[in-house]
Amino acid sequence: MSREIGEVILDLKNVSLAFGGVKALTDISFDVREHEIRAIIGPNGAGKSSMLNVINGVYRPQQGEIILRGKHFSKMNPYKAARAGISRTFQNIALFKGMNVIDNMMTGRNLKIRSNLIQQALWWGPARREELEHRAKVEEVIDFLEIQHIRKTPVGRLPYGLQKRVDLGRALAMEPSILLLDEPMAGMNVEEKQDMCRFVLDINDQFGTTIVLIEHDMAVVMDISDRVVVLDYGRKIGDGLPDEVRANPEVISAYLGASH
């Protein structure tokens, strides 16, 4: 699929979020266009993860609305978000530790399962057929991410880098239209980062998946993203093309001020 940036598919308007008295996000608006790679950056505690959590409904903002493909959501919840084709990875890997790699990724196919509980219990008819179909799909993702050798390994035993990859795999297995990546490269060495970059770009390129990405590594962000939002203390201080953002004095001061 060729990568042509399309219309706005996700639009956040005036989102504010607070925990008790603590304001995490204040009046933030930004949009995401189809097929683009949109990065969210900012110092620690800027509210980046909160932003993602608002998008897929883990947190409910006190104010503001989310417009997804023209549909207005004042309250998103994770299930609705998943149905709408939003999937995500987690900053502190949230894999299902008791399951192996295949099963973890198979959970990503959950929304596409049509057979009911009784059919599944009998392992009969549609249930069995589906199980095979989805397995084939998951194997495609496994091939894509080059993790064939760890298929049957319980995820708890995998090294960190591979866990990150499986986390991505699970999100991909959903065949999302929007993929939220929460620091996919945090804690990786250079080689692993390169692999991960490659995967992100390939996903975007091959499947046309819209990607919203949180990342600390400025070099990576500037390299791969189409547009960048900058947050600081829960406020938006910059938004635009990587070069524009890089030149934004407010961003520079925030970055220099906060992270040494």
């Binding site: 925990f19 993860s49 959590n53 883990v58 987690f90 900053q91 949230a94």
Partner: protein, 309 residues
């Protein structure tokens, strides 16, 4: 009206004792993150020790004074509880450190079995009495105000008083002593506590010992009311709704929860019970706690649980 007040008082008295059991749960949960199902068995064990030693000591030492025998027996039982705490820390908690809650819960059920078995094989299975000179006969008061007067059980009052004193002492201990402050530090944050140089193992022994003493006091009160026998261990089950109502981590929660449950179950049994067949107090207490839970999942005084992603 007089009867209502009697029931209320009866409930408060029962609640005071539930609070003591719940206090044992809370202390241990706060400091070691263990939901201690063995609290009931500890209570039984302590009460059995107290009852038997207070009978044996006059025989062994040839002393006549009941008071003295009781005091000595109390200290022996206390020492035994220290031994129990030490052994539990050594043999169970230390090897199981950092295991999941369910595993630890199971382990305490194991401890409960061991303590029940040990207690009954060392001390016997008959019904024993603890005679600490509690007044048994009831008194009638305020006969002028209520028809038939208010029947007050002196024993219950003394028991409630002892419970209150114990709670006050514990509060002082936690607020004013170095050890107490260390215990609170552990409760707040294990790693932080360790990093300022508090030996965690030592703390656990102390906490389990304190819980053991609470169990001993509860056992003495209960044993003096009902006799000491095997089913004392089941009072733990009555303390459970109290901790879920009050919150697993809150000492005031344990006390207030205990009173609410005590009053709730007595009132329900007396006023609601006859209508639907009686014997409802146990499940009523649990349902009461459950209803509270639906509104406040962390209990009345528990800390709010926030999910971080």
């Amino acid at each position: 009206m007089g009867f209502f007040i009697e029931t209320l008082i009866g409930g408060l008295m029962a609640g005071m004792l539930y609070s003591l059991v719940a206090l044992g749960f809370v202390l241990i949960y706060k400091a070691s993150g263990v939901f201690n199902f063995a609290q009931g068995a500890m209570l039984l064990f302590a009460a059995l020790a107290m009852a038997r030693f207070s009978a044996w000591i006059p025989e062994w030492l040839g002393i006549d004074s009941l008071w003295l025998a009781n005091v000595i027996a109390f200290f022996i039982a206390g020492a035994l509880m220290y031994l129990v705490a030490w052994l539990i820390e050594r043999l169970v908690l230390r090897p199981l450190v950092n295991q999941e809650g369910a595993t630890l819960l199971m382990a305490t059920l194991g401890i409960a079995y061991v303590l029940e078995g040990l207690g009954t094989s060392i001390f016997g299975t008959a019904i024993y009495k603890i005679d600490v000179g509690m007044p048994k006969e009831p008194v009638l008061i305020l006969e002028g105000i209520f028809e038939g007067g208010l029947l007050i059980n002196k024993e219950d009052f003394v028991a409630a008083l002892i419970a209150a004193v114990l709670v006050a002492l514990l509060t002082l201990f936690f607020q004013k002593t170095v050890t107490g402050r260390a215990l609170r530090a552990v409760a707040d944050d294990h790693q932080a506590a360790q990093s300022i140089g508090i030996p965690l193992n030592h703390i656990w022994v102390i906490v389990w010992f304190v819980a053991g003493i609470v169990a001993l006091v509860a056992g003495v009160i209960w044993g003096s009311k009902l006799g000491v026998q095997f089913s004392l261990a089941t009072v733990a089950l009555r303390g459970l709704p109290v901790v879920i109502l009050g919150g697993l981590t809150s000492i005031p929660g344990a006390i207030i929860g205990g009173l609410i449950i005590g009053v709730g179950e007595k009132l329900s049994e007396v006023y609601l019970g006859p209508m639907i067949g009686g014997g409802i107090e146990i499940w009523f207490a649990y349902q009461l706690a459950l209803v509270f839970l639906l509104f406040r999942p962390q209990g009345l005084f528990g800390e709010k649980i926030i999910d971080r992603v």
